[in-house]
Symmetry: C2
Subunit: 271 residues, 2 copies
């Protein structure tokens, strides 16, 4: 009867390119007297990973292709943003005004290739080092910076995990999440885009139920369930709590890849 | 920095038609010296609600229609089960061997109309009252009992909530969850099929991000995020922990309906 506990880490500063997330997380844990134990999991929003890895792009530097211009007109989006969406994707699945659904280069289906316009700010050298808001950049029309997903979130998660494990001498899991929409339901939910040291799915086929019947179709997306839980604790509007410490994940740590969560295209009934 | 905590309730007995779930949950809380506080949420698997409401069906009583027989052949499923799936659905969306994707009468899209074959047992009067397993019924081939989703899960959640609130004099939320598959990702995730006293979505459009930019598209499916978290704690194979006590849900209790989570068909790009 172990409870699952998710603690949002306070005191994570605004992240900028080149920042060492392992250091920052360990420092935040210490500052809050939070001990990390074996089998704990750290859930990070993809935004801070992208920022640390410099995946920020100024739309002013992007020249949209003919195809991007066409699609931008059909979707009422900035052609430069559409150009980035297409570059980040291996397949365009659906579009309508306001939304472009793609299969991302990383393999999953999502809206707008996971490119994020919120909580992004340029890295001007004169920016207030305390992370303060410069009033002249504070509205969306003037903000041309967008954030791409990390290039290889599994690799990012592994690097962060190994570095933290070395610093604190504990075996942990690390997950990177993003907020994804769903085709038939409203509202985004936290979804795993990268992980390290955590099982992605638990395949219970062949297990027995309470009555000794053999379960037939139960493959559980435990990583996505944890991603949703982590997202709930982080909130969305302000990324003041971009890291969540999880204790009591009910499955043993294990090696997996985010790709274990992707349905093979030949099983896809909704391409 | 409030943590989110999910505690699986032990000592929930096997549920049978007519059982009072409010009584059972309150007793389990007492037996485990778990205090329930204002703003706590109880997450229940739909299975126990269906059982208490007698939504159990013996396939031997079902005569499949011509259409059910046809679809059963195409999907390699029991025609009587297919008949029930069709009766429980307002629209057939896709099928392949092993899977029938429908829009359920309740409005959401799911596989097999949420009809469950696991952890279901007949209600023979001579059944071991302790809930033990009679060996002659313990394998799937002999088990013709299936479980339909509750007829009106929002109503069920409301009834359970009001009854528990009256017993313990606290304001709480109640959610009923089921495990749903996803079109492009492997593994089921816990999904809200009914709720009472809990917000379904949080609409953050118009809120400001950290830099004062206005958020444009952030509607968060907080009820589904909580459902996923609850499901993670319950596990799947044995429903020994069909109820989870949640503390620290980061939004105020509110009135909502599961239908708030459903994307209107005119916005559906993947019908």
């Amino acid at each position: 009867m172990q409870p699952l506990t998710l603690v949002p880490l306070p005191d994570i500063p605004l992240i900028r390119q080149g920042d060492n997330l392992a250091d920052i997380v360990v420092n935040a844990l210490k500052a809050n007297k939070l001990e990390i134990k074996d089998n704990d999991i750290l859930v990070l929003t993809s935004k801070i990973v992208s920022k640390a890895e410099g995946r920020i792009v100024n739309l002013e530097t992007i020249s949209p292709s003919l195809r991007a211009n066409e699609l931008a007109e059909q979707t009422e989006k900035d052609p430069r943003l559409v150009e980035l969406i297409l570059r980040e994707s291996r397949e365009l699945l659906r579009f309508r005004p306001g939304a472009i659904i793609v299969r991302h280069n990383l393999g999953f289906v999502c809206a707008n290739a996971g490119i994020d316009h919120s909580n992004v700010m340029g890295q001007e050298p004169d920016k207030d080092p305390g992370g303060g808001v410069k009033s002249q950049s504070s509205n969306l029309e003037q903000n041309n910076w967008v954030l791409l997903l990390p290039e290889d979130p599994d690799k990012s998660a592994t690097e962060i995990r190994l570095e933290i494990e070395q610093k604190i001498d504990r075996k942990i899991g690390v997950m990177i999440i993003d907020s994804h929409g769903r085709p038939w339901r409203l509202g985004t939910v936290g979804t795993c885009v990268g992980l390290s040291g955590i099982p992605a799915i638990i395949d219970e086929r062949g297990w027995k139920d309470l009555f000794g019947n053999t379960l037939q179709v139960t493959v559980v997306g435990v990583a996505d369930e944890l991603a949703a839980a982590g997202s709930l604790v982080m909130g969305q509007a302000a990324e003041a709590t971009p890291v969540v410490l999880v204790r009591g994940f009910p499955y043993p740590l294990a090696n997996a890849t985010m790709k274990d969560l992707l349905r093979p295209p030949e099983q896809d009934l909704f391409q």
